[in-house]
């Protein structure tokens, strides 16, 4: 590839999305180094992708995520450079330099003049060592305190999730639905437990048939108000045919008319692909 022959626009888009094989990507990257025109076009494509990324359904991270970040930020404080006043130029002190200071260059001192300055230096050195030790102890304590704070935050998150799971499993208001294979012997079975006002859902299935690796089962919440089915998580059964979807991210307050399961391509889908292989209301 040379700068005169520009990159095929289809491949440029795939390169921007990091979807090319290593060899092809490396060749394009090498061309980019030399071709400002292709670099410009790549930037345009990245701009298009940035706009496209914003079309995703917006959801907020948990409040703990913000707290966690700010704790990390506080732990990794930056050292802000301080402007220092210009120091007077010192004579060169290179080894072997003729301008090096020697004993002969220093003024002669008496006994007191020789000893007292050393007492001062010894005190200063002692204080510096003590201060250094205190600083190290303080930094160690700060580090371990921050670590413990993180652990507490993590434990709180875990406890909150566990409490939500228990509430969903035991709530009197929970809707408990058994899903069976449509129009067939009820061998594959699944149970969805859903609390609409909390958006909590626990789904457990068994006797599910195995799938090709490029496919997944996808669970759908079918709203009671007739709006579009909401994807509620994808899953692959284990070797025993068991699978579960625990607390998928769902909007709160959506009353469910039914739940369904479809087979989708890996990665799942935003709209169910017929047929619905399991359904329960």
């Amino acid at each position: 590839m040379n700068p005169a022959r520009h990159i095929d626009p289809d491949n440029l888009v795939l390169f921007a999305m990091q979807l090319l094989a290593n060899e092809e990507a490396q060749a394009i990257a090498a061309h980019m180094e030399e071709c400002p025109e292709c670099r410009r076009e790549l930037a345009e494509v990245q701009g298009d992708l940035a706009i496209y990324a914003h079309t995703v359904e917006m959801q907020s991270a948990s409040p703990q995520a913000r707290e966690r970040l700010l704790q990390h930020v506080a732990r990794e404080k930056k050292t802000i450079p301080i402007d220092v006043a210009a120091e007077p130029e010192l004579p060169s002190r290179g080894f072997g330099s003729r301008t090096s200071l020697t004993e002969d260059d220093l003024p002669k001192r008496g006994f007191a003049g020789s000893v007292f300055p050393w007492i001062g230096w010894a005190l200063a050195a002692g204080l510096a060592v003590t201060a250094g030790n205190l600083y190290l102890q303080r930094e160690t304590l700060k580090g371990s305190l921050a670590e413990q704070k993180d652990q507490i935050a993590q434990l709180s998150t875990d406890a909150a999730t566990a409490r939500a799971v228990m509430d969903t499993m035991t709530s009197r208001n929970a809707m408990r639905v058994t899903l069976t294979k449509a129009q067939a012997a009820p061998v594959p079975q699944a149970r969805a437990t859903y609390v609409a006002d909390k958006g909590s859902l626990i789904f457990q299935a068994n006797n599910m048939e195995p799938l090709q690796t490029a496919k997944v089962y996808e669970l759908w919440l079918i709203p009671a108000d007739g709006s579009n089915p909401i994807p509620a998580g994808t899953f692959h059964p284990d070797e025993h045919g068991n699978a579960s979807v625990i607390m998928p991210p769902l909007p709160k307050g959506i009353a469910a008319k039914a739940f369904g399961v479809t087979i989708e391509n890996a990665g799942g889908s935003q709209t169910p692909t017929l047929p619905i292989i399991m359904v329960g209301a």
Partner: protein
């Protein structure tokens, strides 16, 4: 708790532009970092969640990206493009890397992303999002699905062709055509 390096008469952080906030972050201002998080965490998290479909993994990507900004705010020079756009694409790329369990590879790191919108402004950002969603909604369904599989599911053109049964060339063209339509709508 946070180190504040602003001077008293500075405008509130929530109204400062990205370049000003990044400059404050460079000086170790934790309030500025919190403001950037409040401004852009939603899009970073939403993109990661769409790709990974796992809230915990999406939050990990969110943390990683914002810590990258804190450690090296100079890595993104605001005058070269839109920070919001850059973050959205980096979030997608990091999430795909996490999905493939491979090391980060970011051609976008050095890139100046053009943007006709000031994504730092919430109203303007919302207007851009509405317009983009409208354009995507009007795309032919094959183009829309193919772009979604490539961008959000990280499937290669060969994988998409295998799944859909469409020829490789068709898959590639659909992805590019969808993006071209989006670009035209925003440059018209």
């Amino acid at each position: 708790m946070y180190r504040d390096t602003r001077i008293v008469n500075d405008p509130p952080l929530s109204t400062q532009d990205d370049a000003a906030l990044l400059a404050l972050v460079q000086r170790g201002d934790e309030y500025a970092m919190a403001s950037l998080f409040d401004r852009y965490s939603k899009v970073v998290y939403s993109v990661a969640l769409r790709v990974l479909r796992d809230p915990a993994a999406a939050e990990d990507v969110l943390q990683e990206i914002f810590m990258q900004i804190w450690r090296n705010p100079g890595g993104f020079v605001a005058t070269r493009g839109s920070l919001g756009g850059w973050l959205a694409v980096v979030s997608r790329n990091r999430s795909i890397d996490a999905l493939r369990r491979k090391r980060p590879m970011e051609p976008v790191d050095d890139m100046a992303l053009p943007s006709n919108y000031n994504l730092a402004d919430e109203a303007e950002r919302n207007s851009m999002i509405e317009k983009a969603r409208g354009v995507i909604h009007l795309l032919p369904v094959e183009q829309r699905k193919t772009l979604e599989m490539a961008f959000f599911d990280g499937l290669t053109h060969s994988e998409i062709a295998e799944m859909t049964g469409d020829p490789l060339g068709t898959v590639k063209t659909r992805i590019r055509s969808a993006l071209t339509t989006l670009r035209k709508a925003f440059t018209a």
